[in-house]
Amino acid sequence: MSFLEIKALTKRFFDMTAVDDFSLSVERGEFVSLLGPSGCGKTTTLQMIAGFEDPSSGSIILNGRNLSKVPARKRGLGIVFQTYALFPHMTVEQNVAFGLEMRGISGDDRRQKIANALDLVKLSHLAKRFPKAMSGGQRQRVALARALVIEPELLLLDEPLSNLDAKLREEMQLELRRIQQDAGVTTLLVTHDQSEAMALSDRIAVMQNGRLMQIGTPFDTYESPKSSFISNFLGKSNCLDARLISTGDDGAKLDVNGIQITGPAVNLLPGKVLISLRPERIDIVDSAEGVLPARVLERIFLGDQWLFRLETTIGNLLVVRRNRGRREAEPGETVHIAWLPEHLRILPQSQENVA
């Protein structure tokens, strides 16, 4: 049995099903992200684990303890809210002390734990400040210290970085990962930001319309998305309609808009399929090595890379190329593109067919 075991969790509001038959196992010390667009049910799932919403059915078992009938205040979970939810009338120290106070921990023991928690988030020097006088990143860390000081069995993070600006968010991602590993606490993160989920977690659980669509390591999920929704949600992707002609040990034969291409073998019946190709897997090459000719429609300079939009006979494609300080093709130019057949992902036409 896993450390956290969520079984067939379902939440219905009137006639709307927010979370549908959601099951997930999390090991001790693991960092798992619930990733999905807004309204996919990830926050409702978190609220049910935290105890702020009652599930319509299903169970949540943490370390062998069934949480269904346990009120939020007795679950002993650490929660970091999107708005940080700091107590504005208390100093940093008092904020962190609150959970210990509620547990009746006092004196030297309390002082020691507060000092350790503030040390962990590197805020010892601001202990006497009020939240009002702190920056977003600092408030974020106070919220983390407050959640971790009670030594929770499970840490829940609800979009913790979404209120920070881009640069600070990157810094905090590294910081959050370090703190989580130092504290060794099992963590569940809810986010709509795929880069955040990929950077932080051991495993990603992608949700759509209240259901768990795919779970796996960030690399596997990115490399082998089970549906076009996931391949588009995790990073950028070129998705094209295609027809699967045959598939066997030597790979799959496909017809895309009248052009024959090959891909890796798949466990699908011939017929209509989707193919997905990552922009960074398409290369712009010399005409001799090219698979297809393409015309540059647009190009965008992103500093470390170039983003091209190309017109080809199989459809419009996005291509990303690392900036190597060389001249790149300009709009209107004709170039040749190539990719390795194994980088092609062949997906069933409709998402309902996902096993």
Binding site: A72, F81, A85, P88, H89, K132
Partner: protein, 286 residues
């Protein structure tokens, strides 16, 4: 051009300033001046200036009693408004939007009814042969009517009824700025509902409670109609005393002096209260 530009703010605020001058400042200054005049029963108001009226008030225990009663009534009203209004505001904020707008209308109701009508309603309820006493006697809970009309307690009850919207609105405004997930955070940290209220909600409502108290106290201390109707001839407060001096004894200068003392004492209480609040809460809330 430049002169016109610099005169513009004055010109634009002119009408308001004129209104302020004619309807507030002039009457106040004249009342103030009047309070130094002297009065004789045969000669009326005399054009002489002195501190006679103030000396008369400050050396007469009759007036001390009235001042004390007035401020005790105002204090009692304020305390009851805090005790009832704060939970009420919190409950209102947590209601569903439809129920909330309905209940807000109920809360604001007393302000929409004429003060005389509302107070007469209270006298029907509180009288010796009033609804409450009749009801208690029928139930055999009491044998003779409890005196409620023409008591300070009756005045306080009726004042709370009309003052509580001010408290609720002030607390509401303070609590609306709060981040409601802080209450969930406290809960997740192990706080019981009572602890969440006393440790998280109440401190955040405090600026509202303090400003609401200020409004309720000053309005109650200078309320006229409610104590006039429910207090009768015997339970006098400052404002009804001023009224009597002006219209019954016709001793305008003495009435003016009492009015000035009321104004000054309420001002002093308000300003020191305000300083206390600012000292305590500056730098805490955004």
């Amino acid at each position: 051009m430049n002169r016109l530009a610099s005169a513009k703010p004055w010109l634009l605020s002119g009408p308001a300033l004129l209104l302020f001058l004619v309807f507030l400042l002039i009457p106040l200054v004249m009342t103030f001046l009047l309070s130094f005049n002297s009065f004789s029963f045969y000669g009326g108001i005399e054009e002489s200036y002195g501190l006679g009226n103030y000396i008369e008030i400050l050396s007469d225990s009759y007036f001390y009693e009235i001042f004390l009663r007035t401020f005790l009534i105002a204090l009692g009203t304020t305390i009851l408004c805090v005790l009832l209004g704060v939970p009420e505001a919190y409950i209102l904020l947590r209601m569903r939007p439809f129920a909330r707008s309905l209940m807000l209308l109920v809360v604001l109701g007393p302000l929409l009814i004429s003060v005389v009508v509302r107070t007469l309603g209270w006298s029907i309820l509180l009288g010796n042969k009033g609804v409450i006493n009749e009801f208690l006697i029928r139930l055999d809970l009491i044998s003779s009517p409890v005196k409620m009309l023409y008591t300070s307690g009756g005045i306080v009850v009726a004042l709370v009824h009309v003052m509580i919207p001010f408290m609720i609105i002030a607390v509401w405004a303070a609590l609306q700025r709060r981040d409601a997930s802080a209450e969930q955070a406290a809960e997740s940290l192990g706080a019981s509902p009572v602890k969440v209220f006393t440790r998280i909600v109440l401190p955040q409502a405090m600026p509202g409670i303090l400003s609401g108290s200020l409004i309720v106290f000053s309005l109650s201390a200078s309320a006229f109609a409610t104590p006039a109707i429910l207090g009768g001839r015997r339970i006098k407060v400052i404002s009804t005393t001023v009224y009597d001096e002006f219209l019954n004894t016709l001793n305008w200068p003495l009435g003016a002096a009492i009015a000035v003392l009321l104004l000054v004492s309420v001002l002093v209480i308000m300003l020191s209260w305000n300083r206390l609040v600012e000292k305590r809460y500056s730098g805490v809330f955004e």
